[in-house]
Amino acid sequence: MTTARDPTIPPPRRLKPWNAVERGLARVGITGRMLVLIAPLLWLLVFFLVPLAVVFGISLTSKQFGRPPYTPLLTSEDGMVQLTLHLNNYIRLFTDNLYVAAYLSSIRIAAIATIITLLVGYPMAYAIARAPDRWRNILLMLVVLPFFTSFLLRVYALTGFMRGNGVINQFLGLFGVEPLVMMQTDFAVYVGIVYTYLPFMILPLYTTLVKLDVSLFEASADLGARPIHTFLFVTLPLSLPGIIAGSMLVFIPAIGEFVIPSLLGGPETLMIGRVLWDEFFSATNWPRASAVAVAMLVVVVVPIMLLQRAQGAVVEK
């Protein structure tokens, strides 16, 4: 699209203070559209890229006692600036089994929790999408309602259900069942993740399912497909974008989850978020902790970005 204006036609006279600003900016080659784009870019730069660079910088230093608790990257001596990069933090990540195990365990727990969330959330999203119009918004409200209370409080509340003399065990006790050990296990972590992240799964699934034309299901049934086949061959493939979006929204934060494993999980629940916390606050090893964080970003985010690009290509068709 060309915006070049015929020089013989004078621009329309508008007496707005914006005009002067706009003309001034245009003189240095900045248009309104650029301004709109600059705002989020600036936000990302200040609150994401700069901190990330700082973390990356710290990860290349070495631990020392003092404040800050790491060696400076740049030192000046006799008018010479010296850049010291310590790579041993990263080397330790690969050589110390704790980190590799924590990464793998985090990915495993997050993946299993995502699958459970999907299995629980899909029927709920489907039911809401197929509910009568006047019910839909109420049901969606109910899905979002837990967000109105503190996340921490909700996770604590789960302990009240699952602990030795909690609600569930007291109920089972009525039937003479021995108390089950649920707290401080992986089971409790799964319950916590599924419970807190369920809305993030339901909402994107709902938005894709509600848009599906009912006549597609009818056409499938009309052509001889039993309900299970209609689901497998029509509903499921067409809701794939929602499944992927919801799974990402659950999987990514679940990997780095710290609160749930530390409140509900036991000593054997190894997750990278806890390792990170321990490095920072117990061992006060900022460089190591930063290296853990950067490695997590690479390990998790890069494959996900590739996956999303592949999905984008599929959805575009």
Binding site: S215, L216, A221, D222, A225, K317
Partner: protein
């Protein structure tokens, strides 16, 4: 094409109900949605190889009736029989019926071929057989080169043909079509109409078509069922519906008609005479009508059934001649439609064929003219 495709069986089985069993029997079917009665006690017999049109305005219940035939809705009361089988408890996926949806409902994530093969795959046919059938259908709807495309890469007319091919794939005994041409533009619609009839005739499949377009119904149908407010008000061949409407609703809904109110002044077995103050003359009808003297009734006449003249015609027994002034003329090329204002204020629409090229002597505005008609030109309607 070398020769006209042979019709599978006699095309007019409904004229001989004693010897022909209906293929689809709809018996006293009603459908209520809450307090709303969508379909009200409809009974209808449709015969094999018919192309039956359900014609009605929006909310007339025609689509609901179609959806009950497909099995997407269950009748509140009554029964539907297809090929002698009661369909009441049969789910859509077990019915020998396929439907072409108004929105086409093509699966967006599947190619044209996969769409057409969908029903065949559900039946577990061998792959080779499916491929052969898909090819055959693509050829039938003239989309041979489009098999690998996705629906969104097709034009509206091509999608319509894919939908038709998909619905025909399983060789259904009965094909239901919901506004099959509704989404196409006028020119494409006219072409497709004839193609649809050709396909229907060559395959001998029974078609039930729902449409709100009376022109479409007239072109396509062997018989038309006119629906209004959930009821079937008339069933008949297109000519019956047009020439012999049974009620004011049908006369007004199909084509245009001049509707005149009158009172019976003579009631004889071989003719009746209607006194009409609206026309300013009597109407002489050359056949007996089931009515009583002094009964109020209606008389409907199509615009093309009347003749305009400058000189007063003889008339029939002193009736069937009205006089008025030409108020409007719509020149449509082949015909001209005249609007004649009668003395009573009633306006008649009369159409005349423009048989003389550029006729300089044509009747024009503000002329006083006589309108006359034959003794059987109009329909006497008592409801």
């Amino acid at each position: 094409m070398a020769k006209k495709p042979q019709l599978a069986i006699d095309t007019r089985p409904w004229r001989d109900t004693a010897n022909n069993k209906p293929f689809v029997r709809i018996r006293n079917v009603s459908k209520k949605f809450g307090d709303i009665i969508a379909v009200d006690d409809v009974s209808l017999d449709i015969y094999k190889s018919e192309l039956f049109c359900l014609l009605g305005g929006s909310g007339s219940g025609k689509s609901t009736l179609l959806r009950m035939l497909a099995g997407f809705e269950n009748p509140t009361s009554g029964a539907i029989e297809i090929d002698g089988q009661d369909m009441t408890a049969v789910p859509p996926y077990d019915r020998p019926v396929n439907m072409m949806f108004q929105s086409y409902a093509l699966f967006p994530h599947m190619s044209v071929e996969q769409n057409i093969a969908y029903g065949l795959k559900r039946d577990g046919l061998p792959r080779a057989e499916i491929n052969a059938r898909v090819e055959e259908l693509l050829a039938l709807v003239k989309l041979g080169d489009y098999g690998k495309r996705k629906p969104h890469q097709l034009s509206g007319g091509q999608r319509q043909r894919v939908a038709l091919a998909r619905a025909l794939a399983k060789r259904p005994k009965l094909l239901l079509l919901d506004e099959p041409l509704g989404a196409l533009d006028k020119k494409l619609r006219e072409e497709t109409q004839f193609e649809l009839v050709k396909i229907q005739e060559s395959l001998g499949v029974t078609f039930i078509v729902v449409t709100h377009d009376q022109e479409e119904a007239m072109t396509l149908a062997t018989r038309i069922g006119v629906m209004n407010q959930g009821e079937i008000v008339m069933v008949g061949e297109p000519t019956d519906i047009y020439e012999f409407p049974n009620s004011r609703f049908v006369a007004n809904f199909i084509g245009s008609a001049n509707m005149v109110e009158g009172v019976v002044s003579e009631d004889e077995p071989d003719h009746i005479r209607i006194r009409s103050s609206e026309l300013g003359c009597d109407i002489y009808v050359g056949h007996g009508v089931d009515c009583a003297p002094e009964q109020r009734l209606w008389w409907a006449i199509r615009p093309e059934k009347m003749v305009l003249s400058r000189e007063k015609p003889a008339g029939l027994n002193g009736a069937n001649v009205a006089t008025g002034i030409v108020e409007e003329i719509a020149y449509l090329g082949d015909i001209s439609v005249y609007q004649i204002a009668l003395e009573s204020g009633k306006r008649l629409r009369v159409s005349q064929t423009n048989s003389v090229r550029g006729n300089p002597d044509a009747i024009t505005w503000e002329e006083t003219v006589y309108v006359s008609w034959d003794e059987d030109a109009g329909s006497v309607l008592t409801s």
